[in-house]
């Protein structure tokens, strides 16, 4: 009867559609079976599955692929040394595709299909914000290896990159004390990290007699900076604070240099250009400029020499290490150490075991702050040298206690 109302035609087409939906459903469940039968709980069997979730395609790949490599290196090292709890780690690599909803989807897939004990991943704050609810609702662990804008402390995320007071504030202090900067121009990608970082920078500048003479944002993946650079030139600041992410860095620095600007005429301090990005930027466009991080390939010490050597041995002598690469590497080791200490991969116990945990990292000794799951880090201001590596020109006396909500700074009230 309904069919009569609906009309008689197009029947075959629907049959075909049914077939497709069936096929899809069956295929979907087929792939399902294989993955669920392979792994039941992270601890069972001889291996422990761990997730590695970075953008391997699109505009963030320039930065994230190397972090993925570092995490795989750490996993290899741990496996070579006998694994964790006597079991080998089995990495499950997923591609976040530089797309935040994809990060959320893949995170869920790693947790519920691959039953990973932990996930290492993310770069942009947008990807972390997209993954956060997934990890919180599944009560699963994420290690996030990149510096970020602070103002967050999820109970299910460990932050192994710097928060604001370990990177941006030391960077600003360097500009003020060493370069005597009075006017500053802010250039960033248009998303949560630069926007929030600049909000904090403005509050800091107000309290420190520095004038912000301009603020420009460009979409992620943007490659056209002529207008921005013209505005910077017009405003004629003492320095530029740069928070551009991903492959836009290449365009920014090339066009900056093509506009006749260099480190002498206009110093730029960047908190998201590291050795790895410099490879793509071309050193002549950026030599002499400043960056603020916690680790450089040139950071002295036995431990770092060993790390750099291992990374180059595995991925080629033309590869470099940098801060997020190191933070990704450290993340894996920190988690493994916590699991050994806890005697299990159980999330709550690993979190408990992580409190106050120390690790002899390439950047120096790091300590996990139990209250916010960030880590103590030494701030280092670097200067690009002609061979593409970075020299430390200023560093904090000791590892700085992470303060993601900037509670210890008067000027940050109300942020």
């Amino acid at each position: 009867m309904i069919c009569r109302i609906l009309g008689p035609r197009a029947g075959r087409r629907c049959l075909a559609a049914v077939g497709v939906v069936l096929a899809v459903a069956v295929a979907g469940c087929g792939s399902d079976d294989s993955s669920t039968s392979a792994s039941t709980s992270p601890d069972s069997g001889d291996t422990i599955a761990v997730g590695v979730l970075h953008s391997l395609s699109s505009f963030m790949a320039i930065s994230e692929v190397s972090v993925k490599d570092a995490e795989l290196l750490a996993i290899d090292e741990i496996n070579a040394a006998g694994g964790v709890l006597g079991k080998q780690l089995k990495p499950v690599v997923e591609d976040g595709q530089s797309d935040w909803p994809t990060f959320a989807e893949k995170a869920q897939k790693l947790i519920s299909e691959d039953k990973v004990a932990v996930t290492f991943g993310g770069w942009t704050s947008a990807s972390r914000k997209a993954m956060l609810p997934v990890f919180e609702r599944n009560k699963a662990l994420l290690y996030y290896p990149v510096q970020y804008e602070g103002l967050e402390a999820s109970p299910y995320i460990f932050y192994t990159g710097a928060t604001t007071n370990q990177q941006i504030i030391p960077g600003l202090e360097f500009l003020k004390e060493e370069l005597k900067v009075k006017t500053l121009f802010l250039v960033g990608s248009d998303y949560v990290f630069p926007r929030t970082a600049n909000k904090e920078i403005k509050a800091w500048a107000k309290a420190n007699d520095m004038k912000i003479v301009g603020e420009e944002y460009s979409p992620l993946g943007n490659t056209e900076y002529a207008t921005t650079i013209n505005k910077v030139k017009k405003a004629n600041p003492d320095a530029v604070f740069q928070t551009i992410n991903g492959d836009s860095n290449v365009a920014f620095w090339k066009q900056f240099s093509n506009a006749g600007l260099d480190a002498k005429k206009l110093p730029v301090i960047s908190v998201s250009t590291a050795e790895d990005e410099v490879r793509g930027v071309g050193i002549k466009n950026i030599v002499g400029q400043y960056v603020a991080w916690n680790y450089y390939q040139t950071t002295p010490g036995e431990r770092n020499a060993k790390f750099v050597k291992a990374y180059k041995a595995k991925y080629g002598s033309d590869r470099v290490t940098d801060d997020p690469i190191e933070a990704g590497y450290v993340a894996v080791h920190l988690w493994a150490k916590a699991v050994e200490k806890a005697g299990t991969t159980d999330v709550e116990k690993v979190k408990q075991a992580s409190k106050g945990l120390t690790y002899d990292a390439p950047e120096g000794k790091v300590t996990v702050d139990g209250s916010n799951q960030h880590i103590y880090k030494t701030a280092r201001i670097g200067k690009l040298r002609p061979d593409g590596l970075i020299d430390t020109v200023s560093e904090s006396d000791e590892p700085i206690k992470p303060d993601p909500f900037l509670k210890t700074y008067d000027w940050a009230e109300g942020l």
């Binding site: 009309g7 559609a17 399902d32 790949a61």
Partner: protein, 386 residues
């Protein structure tokens, strides 16, 4: 019912064929899939079915109406943001500000733009009506000016692009590139609980089936005939006394409403809406799903959305970062060899089997049912070129 029956050409086979197929499809989605699939796969399927709702709309506007709607992301986004903001406001609780509005520090109270969205009675209708209203305004202007073909496509795409710029630029108000995420509840359902996710899945399936049935009826009815005629020769339709602008406008507005509806469902199902989902590239992908499935056949258009997205997910799980290459290859193959999409390929195969002598079950399977109307299956060659 009787008038309908009178319209049927004599000698039409029993009209139960469609019903049988429809029931199989509905049963597959409602019974088989939830039984076979894990929670995670089922919520993925729910997401794909949201996309299928968009695809039905595109099937109507593009497949039947010949309008290359390259900016459906705009309508999908409006629906998504309307629903998303409503959920965020409800999650925040009475008198509290949703977290995304606090990041900028600009707002102490709910901005005027979002105030009405605290009511579900406003937010949900708006998720559908706002896209329809925008499409109506836009379409009225475009179609009256007799703008069509690539010009229409570029215009619709520019709007999607502009929408993304507006969203990202007003990040204090919209969450910027991050979009809206971290939802807790959806009208009493917890979006984080697996059993409530299953409920959401059923809601999506039912909505899709209803949308599909209504659109199908529209296409098979008198309006559908006029729409196809307009697609194939707009001037001739005009000389026959119809107003092609109005005919096209209706399909365009309906498609926009469906995209908005899909967006509103997408948000609780997936748990995020961000500009990355509605820009130029996603908008083009939406048309690609339909082209790949078969734009002239509604069911295949919807199936195309599921097939492409399912392929995307499973390929990228097996070969991380490999999907883009396969996607490119797939589309080249479709454009070169399957201009009518999978639907066209199936038709070929069926025609081939039809020429074989009848052998057993397969023959019986193919022999029941009815041929689609000729003009629906065969697009106008001039339109093909555009």
């Amino acid at each position: 019912m009787s008038t309908m029956a009178k319209l049927l050409p004599t000698g039409t086979p029993r009209p139960s064929a469609f019903l049988v197929r429809f029931v199989i499809m509905a049963a597959t989605l409602l019974l088989v899939a939830p039984w076979l699939l894990s929670d995670f796969r089922l919520s993925l399927l729910a997401k794909f079915l949201c996309f299928a709702i968009i695809a039905v709309g595109i099937g109507l506007a593009y497949g039947q109406g010949g309008m290359l709607v390259l900016g459906q992301g705009l309508f999908f986004g409006i629906g998504g943001y309307a629903m998303g903001m409503h959920l965020k406001i409800v999650d925040a609780g009475e008198g509290q500000l949703p977290d995304i509005l606090t990041y900028s520090g600009k707002y102490d109270s709910l901005p005027a733009l979002w105030k009405p969205f605290s009511s579900a009675w406003f937010a949900i209708p708006m998720a559908i009506l706002l896209p329809m209203a925008i499409a109506a305004l836009l379409g009225a202007a475009i179609f009256r000016q007799r703008i069509r073909g690539p010009y229409f496509a570029i215009l619709s795409q520019a709007l999607a692009a502009a929408f993304v710029v507006v969203l990202v630029g007003n990040n204090a108000l919209t969450g910027g590139t991050n979009g809206l995420t971290n939802f807790q509840s959806f009208f009493g359902l917890s979006v984080t609980s697996p059993s409530d996710q299953r409920t959401l899945y059923f809601i999506v399936v039912v909505v899709l089936l209803i949308v599909f049935l209504l659109t199908r009826e529209l296409v098979l009815g008198r309006y559908g005939r006029v729409l196809i005629a307009t697609r194939d020769d707009e001037d001739r339709v005009r000389f026959l006394g119809y107003d092609p602008a109005r005919v096209k406008l209706f399909a365009y507005v309906m498609a926009a409403g469906m995209a908005g509806l899909a967006g509103a469902l997408f948000v609780p199902v997936v748990g995020i809406i961000s500009p990355a989902l509605l820009g130029i590239v996603p908008s083009i992908e939406m048309v690609i799903w339909v082209a790949l499935g078969g734009r002239t056949v509604l069911a295949w258009a919807a199936a195309g959305a599921v097939i492409v997205n399912w392929a995307k997910t499973s390929v990228s799980e097996q070969f991380p970062s490999g999907w883009l290459y396969l996607q490119g290859l797939l589309f080249v193959v479709v454009i070169l060899y399957l201009p009518k999409g999978i639907a066209g390929a199936v038709e070929h195969i069926r025609a081939y089997i039809g020429r074989l002598p009848p052998t057993g079950g397969l023959r019986i399977l193919m022999s029941s049912g009815d041929r689609p109307p000729k003009q629906a299956a065969k697009p106008n060659p001039t339109e093909e070129a555009a």
